[in-house]
Amino acid sequence: MLAESYIERILDQAVSCGVDYAEVFFEDVERTRADLVDSEVVRCACGCESGIGIRVFRGLESEYLYSADVREECVLGLIRKRLGTGGVFGKRTPLSRFTPHGIVTQGKLPHDRSLKEKIGYLKEAVDTGKREEACIVQGRAYYVDADQRVQIANTDGVYAQDRRIRSRVRFMMTAAAEGGVGRQTGYIGPGAMCGPEFLESEAFLGYAREAARNAKGMLGARPCPVGRMPVIISNGFGGLFFHEACGHSLEGSAVASGCSEFADRLGQRIASEKVTLIDDGSIAGEWGSLGIDDEGILTQKNVLIEGGILKNYLLDRLNAKKMGLKPTGSSRRENYRFAPVSRMTNTYIAPGTDKLEDMIGSVERGLFVKNINAGSVDPVTGEFNFNTGETYLIEKGKITIPVMSATLIGTGGDILPKVDMVSDNFALGHGYCYAGSGQLPIGAGQPAVRITEMTVGGKDL
């Protein structure tokens, strides 16, 4: 890690360029990745990376410099050359240390287990998944762990260090119908803010089994019908639906420039009364959590929508400044090469009181989406899309046949008021979000929800 006195010299150099605000972000990360197809290690990458990012504000203009070379002559030279000199010498508050939330659960570090031990766990899980169902013809595992240490300091006097230890696996199990015609792949991607305890947990082998069951369940899937129909999205990573339908549209970069369908709508009803949307980066042990955000602000529980009323946005320092509001501890970046912006952490819908059986029983003809692969949104128009994984037809109040993956589309403004049932079976899933400041670990969760009607893109008229 960098010496505190060196960080102070960087901040001094930055304020000498006449800026209003300067911030230093340093990271030192060690990662392990291993990809397996059946028992073969097809790709493996292990190593370490470090670098520094320096951000300054002049009014509402942001300038960002980064370097993998953190030697003093390089960093100070970069600031002098790129930010210039002169102007009014800015002010700097002396640094004051504070302690982030303790979000890393359990005590082991990634390097407490060797790579060979980790691969052993992965092979056992892939084998377990393949044994779970006779129809499984291939098992794949994509594993990653990271031990990231960060230092964040700024001219407001913030100085903090955080250590983020993450582990995640994606299991993909492929089932083939008899005769080899027709293949389906089941997928699950759990992650956690912890070290090798993740691999050693009871649940780990269960994930591979679940991916295998998903694949088997989808064998014989028929083309998905097209048109508008009621849709029930299952609990867990189904919460990605709200991540896309409204989460991105509530981020500072979209609302501060007025480019979101939800800009200037605080206090207004934007969803049905069944919808309470929360983003919470402070949950211990969760894949999308942080002890402090990447601007050195403590993460917190942010209630964004309460009973359908828009209560808050996710704001980083710059966009909060533009809007005259307070930052919400939501600023994130993939690594030192990215300037931070407000992004989601663990985003979820609060549980309701409806029962899943009643929800399914209420649908004459519609879709039951058991899991979601991924999606995207254009915050300006609110148009979102997401692709379903394991999906079934509901006919006369019962789940009947599996259907091939479908694309569900709509706009946040149109769909949020159509959430008319929310169940009591809350769960949180894990994945990545790709946006302006890079690829980030996120949690997405919900209980099962019913949308009265939305457009389903399939192949069957």
């Binding site: 470090s50 942001s62 060979k116 300006v380 091939m404 457009t455 192949k459």
Partner: protein, 464 residues
Amino acid sequence: MTESVRKLWWGEDPELIAFMEWLGEQGFTDIRLFISARKSVFLAVQCQELKRYEYGHSGMYVVEAAWKGEYCCAYASSLTAGSRAKIVRRLKETAGVYTNRELPQGITESRDFRGQRWREIDKEAVSECLMCAEREALSCEKVDFVEMCEYQQYEETVVLIDGKMHYLADDDGDCTVTVRVVAKDGDSAAVATKFGIADAGGWEAGLQKNLRETVCELARRAAQDAGLGLHAQKIASGRYPIVIENYVMAELTGHYLPMFYGENLMHHTSALAGKEHEQVGCDFLRLEEDPFSRKGTCRRRIDDEGTPVSKKALLRKGVFENVLYNSKSGGQAGVGSTGNGFKPDVTAGIGTSVTNVILSSEAGTCSREEMLRSVREGIYITKIEGMFAGGSTESGDFSLLASGNRIIDGKLGSAVNQFTISGNICELWKDIEMIGDDPIYRTADRACVVSPSVKAAGLMVSGE
């Protein structure tokens, strides 16, 4: 590091020599070092002010070697004492975990393929060009806001060095501009994004004029397209003939390139598995990789394993002609690398990728108007969303959010949105009836895809 990798003679770099010798002293043999150094600059203008300026450089050292006769690999972003110790620990840890991995090969002859990609820009002058483009867009009818008006430039240098300090060096880079315009009329809003190459080759006064013209033209086109998207209507579900705009077709094509990768074909995770030398597209469809094409933006002459890149047909007259291999998958197939061993990201192991891929016709081309005239009732697709999740290279299936315009009696009609198009890429290739004369480039991961617009017999549409 950036200055270090700019040295012409790698054998004279004392830091690298010392590092390679030190690895040997630690007991590693068959050492090969991969160095990547990247510089980038980014500017964004909004409301006639420079809103974001970013500049930086990053790099990575990736060591491949043998430890007690077994392949090992590790990376670090610097060669400090702490990083060296981590490299050695991780190299020893990875030895023996790879399945069927051959030891790194030595380099027979040092070669330097680097060009001069990087241009120091005048920040104020680039900002002024972007502001000019913003004004240009805002002067167009119905344009409400320019959400994005950006300039981006990068240069990546890649070097491979073996234990005898033989080296291969190459580089790549480009300058691009992006304009995203929001049009509004009453309650209706529409967005259009345009990308372009701003590779002006330097930063003298005349070339600055080129950038200004390029970005202003993009702004005008984005404004025009956004205006055309206003008051979009819903469309009834059904099967429609379609004309797919060049930029959309390039995105579709780029997404499905992994279907040609040897490792995916071997692992049956490609929809083309078992279809080599079969007809998978219409009989005038050509898809080829051409690293030397002036249409594409990629300039690499060797891949990340040091194998020379080469021109090859992927589809010729609609027949699946060539598989793309890196050294490992090529070795497994018994044919060797095709010069397609590229890292998906700098810290990752070698995967498969391409340089410039060009979709074209082997039987003449048509103008966009001719394609539209051939459709009595159909849809002109100008935008798709959801490719990442909604397009499967394993099955070839896709189901995507789309928008565009109706085609009625051969002419463009009202805007349509909030519908999906579904199909299979091989079926779409077979259904192509006409190929346009308007090729445009688009980047896909590290590759560049060039495609004209196409007309296809039909796709399933889900709307109302």
